[in-house]
Symmetry: C2
Subunit: 159 residues, 2 copies
């Protein structure tokens, strides 16, 4: 039995069986865009939850009635003004010990310009970086990355 | 300014600047144990947050006054009754859009028996699996994996 403590915009908090603290969260998508010369496409942005700027591959929440592919296509256009052919690389739960958030990671093949505008509350900078250098900087604690970004980097390095 | 709505055992919920829904969560560790013949060591367990059983590499929360390495060593002994030499493979935020949870992923070299007992509220089964097969099953939606498990699988496949 889930007893709800909070119902919000992007998440709800519940206690299950008076024991487990559970955060219900919308599912999300993340996108790997790789270029043979420029490296991997990252978004630099400030994340209030951690009080730091992060380097993340483009990502966003899946809206109601959207498929993961549709959300991926929309986010890619909004955040990076790009489109392309999508290939699903992985699906996983970000942290199933406390949240049901599920993430779908796509690779974008043959990226090409597309029109889109970031959300009002997003202050994003697009940068291309060498994925091995970002991983090394993250492991020195200098750069903050997300789980989907780590997965994207590892797929980029093996392909 | 963070206004707190809930303060719990493993997480707290706050609203920052009356806009951002933020879950403060303990940091965590995860461990990659790889064997040339048996594959990768996974823990099979039921996760109330997603209502499913998962296949995850051994993982757990970092307790107060514990370093990531100390937590990794303790979790490895508790969940898998193993010890060994630890190498940090990655550190990342699980989902920095809403939570400050940070995860430290270690590889265990030269694993050897160690004594330890799982927590009372954990119902764990240890299994060895081929990492490529687990990734394929996860992508078909048949197996639920975590972000740290995906990262562990990708490191196992490249090494």
């Amino acid at each position: 039995m889930r007893r709800y403590i909070y119902n919000g915009k992007i998440l709800s908090l519940a206690i299950e069986d008076e024991h487990w603290e559970i955060v219900e969260h919308k599912d999300a998508v993340a996108l790997l865009v790789k270029d043979p010369e420029r490296g991997v496409l990252f978004v630099e942005q400030y994340r209030p939850a951690i009080g730091r700027r992060t380097l993340e591959i483009p990502a966003g929440l899946i809206e109601p009635n959207e498929s993961p592919e549709e959300a991926a296509r929309r986010e890619l256009a909004e955040e990076a003004q790009l489109g392309g052919r999508l290939e699903k690389l992985a699906e996983f739960y970000t942290s199933p010990g406390f949240t049901d958030e599920k993430l779908y990671l796509f690779r974008v093949h043959e990226p090409q310009p597309a029109s889109g505008t970031p959300d009002d509350d997003e202050d994003l900078t697009i940068v291309w970086r060498d994925p091995a250098a970002v991983l090394a900087a993250a492991n020195r604690g200098e750069t903050a990355i997300s789980a989907s970004t780590l997965a994207g980097i590892l797929f980029a390095l093996e392909q």
